[in-house]
């Protein structure tokens, strides 16, 4: 099982619903975000081009955060999701420094927190909170090993990219372009 997510930049309107839904679903403390929306604008008026992306932890295959964690609190869980075991985390912040996407943050309770691909929902057959709420349905989530999952199928049909592939992290968050 290999969970992955694809975000369709052609449909994302930057509404940030994914951010609020994640915040309420996961009780993210106020002032922190597990996911965020980026706007990239190129050109000169009126020749302009815009790309909108909903970003979060990429749950990388070659994750620097898991590699540098001294206690193993950051670990690979089922499906390749990267989770933080709160009672193993010492709050040293190494993983926060190690992430080139700045996806992690220090939770006020002391441990390090980040997107969990809504692990607690996947067990019950639900999808991630962000994918379920997105009004443009631009977030696809599923199992790459399942040929019928929405993410497998969309990646077959569309061109996609990942963020800073040269950082060598081999992310599992794809952006359809």
């Amino acid at each position: 099982m290999r969970y992955a997510m694809a975000v369709d930049t052609r449909k994302c309107v930057g509404c940030s619903d994914c951010v609020v839904a994640c915040q309420t679903e996961n009780n993210v403390p106020s002032g922190f975000s597990r996911d965020w929306v980026v706007e990239r604008l190129n050109g000169t008026y009126p020749q302009l081009e815009i790309e909108l992306r909903s970003e979060r932890c990429n749950h990388c295959n070659n994750a620097p955060c898991v590699r540098c964690c001294p206690t193993g609190a950051s670990h690979f869980a089922e499906g390749g999701i990267i989770l933080v075991n709160h009672s193993k985390c010492i709050g040293c912040g190494a993983c926060i420094s190690a992430c080139p996407y700045d996806a992690r943050y220090p939770h006020p309770d002391g441990y390090v927190d980040k997107c969990t691909f809504c692990n607690h929902r996947l067990k019950n057959g639900l999808s991630t909170a962000c994918a379920d709420v997105c009004p443009t349905k631009c977030i696809y989530f599923g199992d790459l090993d399942d040929p019928n999952s929405s993410v497998t199928m969309i990646l077959k049909r569309r061109k996609y990219k990942t963020l800073i592939p040269e950082a060598g992290t081999d992310p599992r968050l794809y952006f359809l372009i």
Partner: protein, 745 residues
């Protein structure tokens, strides 16, 4: 011209009911909560509601944790408005409830109006005060001297109350400050309004044309969802906007039009579509009238002519016209929603309506569908007294086409100098922050100073509450029942709003407030149900449902009575216009002394060093209503002013810097605003999101954040047809001195 507009239906009333929780909730779902171990399974209860953060009223479920606290709000899968997905404001609705800066108790003013010195009062005291004053006003000036400005679910209760009291001076600012010109233009053309939610069949369209509408930044949930479907289906989007909006970013064609010249473009499109014979001949012959006059009218409005005015190349105008035509009838020239721009707005939307008619999209798949509304009876109430005067008597002859009362007329009528013979002396303001809504703030405040009673009903201490004599704290939609949502859509449907938690502090639901006032005024016969849910149960039983059923369903969809979502082939449609046909040439407008067909008039342009102020929405906020919501301020806590890089260079401005804005009448913003230097805006304009720049210190999260565009809108262009307040003829310049971040009033 007859008024087709139905006033807000008065549904039956009931007092607020304190739900205890366990008994009436039927729907339970086992869902695990996020946490350290990730496998906690908690019994979670969910209650149905429909959102109040904006007018779209998406139905959803409120989930609570086992300790009774509200956890999250999720869309109802059965709901046509949202298809199970709420927008960021709806998802963030929990913040409305959790906001610790909400109003808590009724307040009575103890000092001069506007000084904001109040004392806490009991509900009884507050009601006695209000009823006493209302009785005085009725005796001194007549009941028509009480006006109601309202928005949202509470409108129906306060409308009932005021009508029972004897006044029909009930205005929704969403008419004259927002969608009014559009609805009246569509009435004049098709005999029907564009509705809320709009009856645009976006998910089946092949070509969506947006004139200034910024879908994607205005978060009209259903429309954004359908636009996404349309994109998946390869639909073409054409955006006409001086700003590179999000929609423009998804468009095949973006027409960066010079502001205020839209009608010229629309006329040129009409010319192209008619003279190239792109129009739907069969449809026009069968359903329209006035084609020959229209043809003659647009003879000289060529693409080349429009180019000189709009700066859009003739080639682009021609190509987009062809694109629209080849998609027809699955094409939508979108009427927009907030259309009060330059004072000739009804005529501009008339042009849009005419284009739709020429392309044959009205009543066709991929164009505009026929809405169907559930028929749920209201509880029979005693008849209302006939008012001695209506709003139209304030300035006779003005705004003859208006199908709804005009809020700014009632405001002007509150100022004695304007018309001493007709006075409005008391206002009830429910769920609308007039100070931010009505342009020309100085005029609104002048009107307020002349009142003998101002009651503000709100959940937050917004600016309007600062001017009130009595502030009544309503609880949020999550803490109350409300009327059934009976909205027009592809299928008829009803939705239930159920109380999910007890009202906090001394807040109470609008229904209870209205009913208590009716008791004090001796009008209790208009609110026969003490508990609102008894009324709801009665209503639901009339349609073979029940409160219990709706509590577990949330939304109930019915089948249409006939298979008439679109016009059938060769159907003989009778349009509710005077002629029974779609009026390309409007005889009724002509009879009222206005242009029967739209004409282009040039509008004022900014002088040197000034830039046209364009404003709009951000998808994470709903006007000033959500500015203090903790979940939504996390996303956006201030607005910024978009400035073109060429202009920024002239003024030596950089992104992140704070500046003051000053408009053509010398008014400077109370607070400085952050600069965003971006290519997305034309060099003759600046853009900012509406709803910031709050002056209320009680709202710490939004006080002083960003600047208020309303403050800059001092010049108003009134639409002579229906009184809409055109707001886009205000120009600002920049003031850079002393614009550091620390500001004190």
């Amino acid at each position: 011209m007859t008024n087709r507009r139905q006033f807000i239906k008065i549904s039956v009333a009931g007092a607020g009911f304190m739900a205890t929780g366990a008994g009436t909730m039927k729907a339970m779902e086992l869902i695990s909560q996020p946490g350290n171990t990730g496998s906690l399974n908690l019994d979670l209860k969910r209650t149905p509601t429909y959102c109040e953060v904006c007018f779209w009223k998406c139905a959803g479920w409120v989930y609570k944790k086992s300790n009774g606290k509200i956890w999250k709000i999720i869309g109802n899968d059965q709901d046509q408005h949202c298809n199970g997905r709420l927008c960021p404001r709806g998802t963030g609705g929990v913040g409305m409830y959790n906001d610790n800066e909400r109003l808590r108790t009724p307040l009575l003013r103890t000092a001069e109006r506007g000084k904001q010195i109040f004392r806490e009062a009991t509900w009884d005291e507050a009601f006695d005060y209000i009823a006493g004053r209302m009785k005085e006003i009725s005796v001194k000036y007549g009941p028509s001297s009480m006006a109601l400005f309202t928005h949202g679910s509470g409108s129906s209760y306060f409308t009932t109350l005021l009508k029972a009291y004897g006044s029909e001076n009930i205005a929704e600012p969403s008419y004259a400050q927002c969608r009014g010109p559009r609805d009246d233009a569509f009435f004049a053309t098709f005999g029907e309004e564009a509705y809320s939610p709009e009856i645009t069949d976006i998910r089946n369209t092949k070509c969506l044309v947006l004139i200034g509408s910024h879908i994607g930044e205005n978060m009209h949930n259903g429309q954004i969802q359908e636009m996404s479907d349309a994109i998946d289906n390869g639909a073409t989007i054409i955006t006409v906007d001086p700003r590179f909006s999000t929609a423009a970013g998804k468009s095949k064609y973006w027409l960066p039009i010079k502001p205020s010249t839209d009608i010229a473009l629309l006329l040129a499109w009409m010319h192209e579509i008619i003279y190239n014979e792109y129009y739907d001949k069969k449809y026009v012959d069968k359903y329209c009238t006035g084609f020959d006059q229209l043809r003659e009218h647009v003879k000289n409005f060529t693409a080349e002519w429009a180019y000189g005015i709009t700066t859009i190349s003739p080639d682009k105008i021609k190509r987009t016209a062809k694109e629209m035509a080849s998609a027809a009838p699955a094409v939508i020239v979108h009427p927009g929603r907030h259309v009060t721009w330059y004072g000739d707005d009804t005529q501009r939307i008339r042009a849009i309506a005419i284009l739709n008619a020429l392309l044959g999209s009205w009543g066709r798949r991929g164009g505009f569908y026929r809405p169907s509304k559930a028929s749920v009876p209201g509880y029979k109430l005693p008849g209302f007294p006939k008012p001695s005067r209506t709003w139209q008597d304030a300035f006779p002859g003005k705004f003859p086409i208006a199908s709804s009362p005009v809020s700014n007329v009632l405001i002007d009528a509150s100022i004695p100098e304007n018309n001493p013979g007709y006075l409005v002396k008391g206002w009830i303001v429910n769920g609308t922050n007039l100070i931010s809504t009505i342009p020309n703030q100085a005029n609104t405040i002048k009107a307020i100073q002349n009142l003998e009673l101002l009651v503000a009903i709100d959940t937050m201490p917004m600016e309007i509450t600062g001017w009130a004599d009595v502030v009544l704290p309503e609880c949020t939609y999550l803490e109350r029942y409300d009327s059934l949502r009976i909205s027009p859509h592809r299928k008829p449907s009803i939705a239930l709003r159920m109380q999910s938690t007890e009202p906090l502090n001394q807040t109470r639901p609008g229904y209870w407030i209205a009913r208590q006032l009716s008791l004090k005024l001796g009008l209790e016969s208009y609110f026969p149900f003490e508990k609102q849910e008894d009324l709801l149960d009665w209503q639901l039983k009339q349609v073979k449902s029940s409160l219990e059923e709706m509590q577990s369903l949330g939304v109930k969809n019915f089948e249409r009575e006939a298979d008439d979502l679109y016009f059938a082939e060769d159907e003989n449609v009778q349009f509710p216009t005077d002629s029974g046909r779609i009026e390309l040439f409007s005889k009724s407008l002509e009879a009222a002394g206005f242009d029967a067909m739209p004409k282009y008039t040039a509008h004022e342009e900014p002088q040197d060093g000034y830039y046209r102020l364009i404003y709009g929405r951000a998808p994470m906020h709903t006007f000033s209503r959500t500015s203090n919501n903790p979940n939504l301020t996390d996303l956006m806590h201030e607005n910024s002013v978009w400035i073109n890089p060429k202009v920024a260079k002239e003024w030596s401005l950089v992104t992140g810097q704070y500046i003051w804005l000053k408009n053509q009448d010398g008014v400077t913003t109370d607070f400085p605003i952050k600069v965003r230097v971006t290519e997305r805006i034309r060099w003759d304009s600046v853009y900012m999101v509406h709803g910031f720049g709050h002056k209320q210190k009680q709202m710490k999260r939004c006080f002083g954040k960003g600047a208020s565009d309303t403050q800059m809108i001092t010049k108003v262009l009134y639409d002579p047809l229906m009184g809409g307040t055109g707001m886009r003829s205000n120009f600002v310049t920049f003031v850079t001195e002393n614009a550091g971040k620390e500001v004190s009033l």
